[in-house]
Symmetry: C2
Subunit: 398 residues, 2 copies
Amino acid sequence: MHPTPEISLPLAMLIVFGSAKLMAEIFERLNQPGIVGEILAGALIGPSVLGWISPNPTLTALADLGVMFLLFGVGLEVKAAELVKVGGTATIVATAGVIVPFFAGWGLMTYWGAPTPEAIFVGASLVATSVGITASVLSARGLLHEVASKIILAAAVIDDVLGLIVLAVVSSLSRGSINIWEISLTATLASAFTVIVGYWGTRAVSHVAPRVESRLRAGEVQFNMAMILLFVLAVLAMYTGVAAIIGAFLAGMALSESAGPRVRDLSKGVNELLVPFFLAGIGLHLDVSVFKNRSTVTLAIIVLGVAVVTKLVGCGLGAISLGWSNVLKIGLGMVPRGEVGMVVAQIGLSLAVIKQDTYAVVVFMAVASTIVTPLLLKIAFREEATPSGLLESESGAA
Amino acid sequence: MHPTPEISLPLAMLIVFGSAKLMAEIFERLNQPGIVGEILAGALIGPSVLGWISPNPTLTALADLGVMFLLFGVGLEVKAAELVKVGGTATIVATAGVIVPFFAGWGLMTYWGAPTPEAIFVGASLVATSVGITASVLSARGLLHEVASKIILAAAVIDDVLGLIVLAVVSSLSRGSINIWEISLTATLASAFTVIVGYWGTRAVSHVAPRVESRLRAGEVQFNMAMILLFVLAVLAMYTGVAAIIGAFLAGMALSESAGPRVRDLSKGVNELLVPFFLAGIGLHLDVSVFKNRSTVTLAIIVLGVAVVTKLVGCGLGAISLGWSNVLKIGLGMVPRGEVGMVVAQIGLSLAVIKQDTYAVVVFMAVASTIVTPLLLKIAFREEATPSGLLESESGAA
């Protein structure tokens, strides 16, 4: 309640939320995606530029909650049956989108003169798509019901499981031995969790929820039960090895048929407050130290290019049966790497397998790939976009 | 996104939110206030009993945000003009409610054999009402439009300013000298802030908000502007010396006439998610070490009794012109001390003015006074209570 020696909570909230919304407004006026403005707001107020605020555990927690509620909200708008329908294509998209960047990254770094373990780690850091940014763009522009959007979401879930396996293999490789048994167990657990919850979650929830809720007395029962499901599945996801946000997405999807408008409105409120912390949080991690050395700058730009092109090619070609327009949408939708790439690079750094410079390059790639995605998606989804932001703001002001 | 060596965020969310809602449900079934269940859930999962979770910066931040949104939501339901109308009575209630507990606490500790500085600090820790619990009870039971409720809210705001002055005086006393000039400046700043925002906030917002909002393009403009006002006033409140939650309350009140249903629904969502962290957070701070020593137990129970009786008498008598029923409601509504009393005791501890045992007694008083208040308010507001909890749960499940 009283000012701490560090920055106080209300001031931190004001700086992050206020600057994110200000930059979003500026970008919307320039006819650019507001999301890019919110990410750049983080870079601006962060240690790299103005130095008003640094990443800290509280901001990280708000950002993590923000992306969980973002994916929960996206899940609420998606029916599991529709994702299952595109499951075949999504599997090809995800698999090709893992193989192409991994080997391209490995090859590039070898060509650049890096030792093999470092090259493999950079390859691994290019693997995992961070679906938050794309989900945010698709949701804000009312595009979640497109076929391409559904393939992106399904592929992102599969991609997370594949990324987990790649990370497990690479980590044990760098320790000198591969425990096939352990890796198979990890892969099985992770796949079983997503498949079981994805397939049967909706039916189970539609069956059980009304019975439980009708017996409870405390206020806002349906919202409270939804929150508990969200946290339970996020925890289970982490225990089985996949990301908490995948659990959050599956929780939303399980509730997509039974959740009433009240649950949607209340969780939207949390979403609106916290998603700016997720977006600005990405920008906060931008490290301009990468620009001190000319050779590192060159490498950073090449790695970013490889990151974009390899997902575009890998994921896009996986969807070639759906026509070129979908190739572009799906390929670009899978481009953002975000925090997952950073985590891989951090593990590499802690194992002393990758150098500090290379770490900075991966962080740059992770942040920059999230910044370019909304700009590229705007072009790819040109025809279908409805100005839902405007509609929302009008109904909000009414 | 991945498990940390400590407890992961989703698991912490699940434990706190889940246990709070479970205990609320149990208490509602026992015909007791759910709020008490949520506070006790914190005591149960905390270090004192099960030890599942300890207070940490993230949980504290979520609790602080929770009580800010709670007071913001209460402000949204209260018109400033109505508080101004009861301002005279509220001033008497607040003033008497500061003087009586302060001298009673001082006298009690002197009688108990404590040195004068320690006795004065315990007196000061009994001064400030923590309005969160009462606001939560009144809001949950749909009682905010009662005259007694308005007097409680207005008196709580004044009480916060008076508490600030008492703390400033006591702190400088224990350092050996009083800087009258500095204390007058603090008092003037704090009073000026609350009076100016309270009086002219609503008019200023009603005048400015529609013009600004109609020019903005990014989605959910009205909610975003409301959040920025909330954080700005919370920051200003802290700079002028009053609590951030008073700023949050004033922000809500300034918006009470212009905010549309969308802003109310979205901020209610944040409220529903985070208030359990505020309530359980109080319980988390319960320290059972106070029960190891028989004389400390006795003192703790006496101090708790003094805490309840002195606010009941002081605040209640200030409202005697409104009849005995209101005396009871207002007196009991001002009982909770919560985190403010703990902060005073912490300062005393850091200045080596109060002993560890006495600190534990004050913390016990602060937690226990918040637990008994909803139970006592239930009796005081017996006739007026509408079962709004039930109504809400029905509309929620619809």
